[in-house]
């Protein structure tokens, strides 16, 4: 039986259409002029025990609204949702006992208290018995090296240390499902790797189901066998991560600043690249931000270094950055039928 079962789930918000000016604002006080925003619009999914699922999508896709429904904060407008066979919003407290939640930016530990005291309080809140507590703390010690942080106040921890503590804390009561929201945001590469290995190890040891929302495709690639891509409240793709990463993992974007950029630069760049690498070369050109020209390259078809060399020789480039493909780009490509 699946741990999380979602069928035809929708959440609509009503938003007041605001009128302009002072008079308008006054009329708004009594206005019934609402428009409906479909934050989540008829999704269905099943998550099995022990899975790590990447739940991704651009800002405003409805990820957070779904998570809030799974955790029992929001009541769905329509559809069914069960977690561990129970309706989440029917009994928030019972449901909270089987869940762990981590928010990337904000700690849920006690800001002014030493780390170990936070864990002791959690032990009481979740009624974890001493033996289980000791066993878990040992696991955290082995994975995270928690002991040396025990006596530090939470406020004095670095962002990375705090995140490791928060993640450990969310596993303390042996929850069936843990929600990780942007666990690697704002962290440098080495800490990111550490967090990924801790999460995957906790999942392996405890068999905990993990739902990961992130903007970092690297997190998904490293942790999740399954990925769900959401946009505008609908599921765009639900399937093996491999299928997505084989497609997008190979993509890199060259961000260029070109001297004397004018209206003709983009088209001349496109033409010259087509002339050099052929029409079906997996290289696309776009200008999204001002001053920056984005050249997205499918490395499976055309080596990035070749493209870079060619452009540097042909155009007066004075700045270059290489970035992994963005979430927005993935969604756009999926729309265009990339995943078939």
């Amino acid at each position: 039986m699946s741990l999380i079962h979602i069928q035809d789930l929708s959440k609509h918000f009503k938003i007041l259409n605001r009128r302009q000016g002072l008079g308008g604002a006054f009329r708004d006080l009594f206005s019934g002029d609402y428009r409906t925003v479909r934050a989540v619009d008829g999704i269905a999914l099943d998550i099995q025990p022990g899975e790590i699922v990447g739940y991704i999508g651009p800002n405003g896709a409805g990820k957070s609204t779904t998570i809030k429904m799974m955790t029992g904060i929001l009541k769905p407008t329509a559809g069914t949702i069960t977690v561990n066979g129970q309706v989440p919003y029917a009994n928030r407290i019972r449901q909270a006992q089987i869940m762990g939640v981590v928010f990337g930016q904000r700690t849920q530990l006690w800001w002014d208290l030493p780390v170990i005291e936070s864990f002791k309080i959690l032990k009481e809140i979740y009624r974890v018995d001493q033996a289980t507590f000791d066993r878990h703390m040992e696991v955290f010690e082995k994975l995270v090296g928690l002991k040396e942080l025990y006596s530090q106040q939470v406020r004095t921890l670095s962002l990375g240390q705090r995140m490791l503590c928060d993640i450990s804390a969310s596993f303390l009561h042996n929850p069936q499902v843990v929600f990780l929201d942007e666990p690697t945001i704002g962290l440098d590469v080495s800490i990111k790797a550490k967090i990924r290995s801790v999460v995957s190890e906790l999942n392996r040891v405890r068999g905990t189901t993990i739902i990961l929302t992130t903007h970092d495709l690297g997190d998904v690639e490293a942790l999740c066998r399954r990925i769900i891509i959401l946009d505008k409240g609908k599921i765009l793709f639900d399937g093996p991560t491999k299928k997505v990463t084989s497609l997008f993992g190979a993509y890199r974007t060259l961000k260029l600043q070109i001297d004397d950029f004018d209206d003709t630069t983009l088209s001349s760049l496109r033409e010259k690249l087509a002339g050099r690498f052929g029409r079906d070369h997996g290289v696309t050109v776009a200008s999204i931000e001002e001053l920056w020209t984005d050249v997205t390259i499918d490395q499976a078809r055309t080596p990035l270094s070749d493209v870079l060399n060619f452009i540097m020789k042909t155009f007066p480039v004075f700045d270059v950055r290489i970035v992994e493909i963005s979430m927005e780009k993935v969604v756009q490509q999926v729309y265009e039928g990339a995943l078939g």
Partner: protein, 265 residues
């Protein structure tokens, strides 16, 4: 009952840690307590000055006013000590940090309020107790066991009234972005609680008795001890009023908690 015991135990564990952490700033605690001490005596100082020019205020002597004021101080101290986190509610809601209170298998109001324990509020409690003992000695109030029980019951319900009034105003934050004016108003009204309600008439007395019943924070219940022969039957209902108002506040809180969707991410 088991739940109550568990929550009490939890509260004790959390606050013990908080006090330990706070005690690292001993000088701060000392200075804050002094500030609290002075602010506890401000209104009383005003009464003292006024009674230089008058013999009684609407028939109440200075010492009776001290008694009412002492009752008020004790009745508002639970709010100060146990519910002091209410000041931050509007910031938590606006910044989206309120979300975290949903994720623990605990009563949310308990969890939220447990994050603050205001030690300096103990000063208020002590000043109140000191003044109560002083005034009742001066007034020669004889404390029988029954009276002491009555005092505890009425103090408890007065504290409920005061907590309920302020928290209902605080809950406005769930629906309005800047709820400060509502809270500020409730906070200001609270300061009128030690005034003899008999000085008011018309709309004011009606409001302070039935609508925003701050009269039940100090003045009405104090009459049970100062002028038991003149007490109106309504005063005996004060425990019920306290409980009813607290229940209403809790219902509003629950509505607010359910309507909050977590703005920001």
């Amino acid at each position: 009952m088991r739940t109550l015991a568990r929550y009490l135990r939890l509260y004790f564990i959390i606050e013990a840690q908080y006090i330990k952490a706070r005690m690292q700033y001993r000088a701060d605690f000392l200075v804050s307590s002094i500030g609290m001490f002075f602010s506890s005596l401000a209104t009383l100082a005003v009464f003292w000055i006024l009674f230089n020019s008058i013999n009684d205020l609407a028939g109440w002597t200075f010492m009776e006013m001290v008694f009412i004021y002492a009752f008020y101080m004790i009745a508002i101290s639970p709010m100060q000590i146990l519910f002091d986190h209410f000041w931050q509610l509007r910031f938590h809601i606006r910044q989206g940090t309120f979300l975290k209170y949903y994720f623990r298998p605990l009563n949310m109001m308990f969890y939220y309020m447990s994050e603050m324990f205001d030690l300096k509020g103990l000063t208020q409690l002590l000043v109140g107790i000191g003044l109560l003992i002083y005034a009742s000695t001066q007034l020669e109030i004889s404390w029988t066991a029954a009276r002491v029980i009555l005092l505890l019951v009425t103090l408890f319900s007065a504290a409920l009234v005061q907590v309920a009034v302020v928290l209902i105003a605080t809950c406005a934050a769930f629906w309005v972005v800047d709820s400060w004016p509502v809270l500020g108003l409730a906070w200001k009204l609270r300061e009128f609680a030690p005034y003899p309600m008999s000085i008011f008439d018309g709309a004011f007395r009606f409001t302070f008795t039935y609508i925003i019943p701050i009269g039940f924070v100090a003045f009405y219940p104090s009459q049970l001890f100062l002028r038991p022969e003149q007490v109106s039957p309504l005063v005996y209902a004060s425990p019920l009023i306290g409980i009813a108002l607290f229940a209403l506040m809790y219902w509003i809180w629950t509505q607010g908690v359910n309507s909050y969707t977590g703005t920001g991410s």
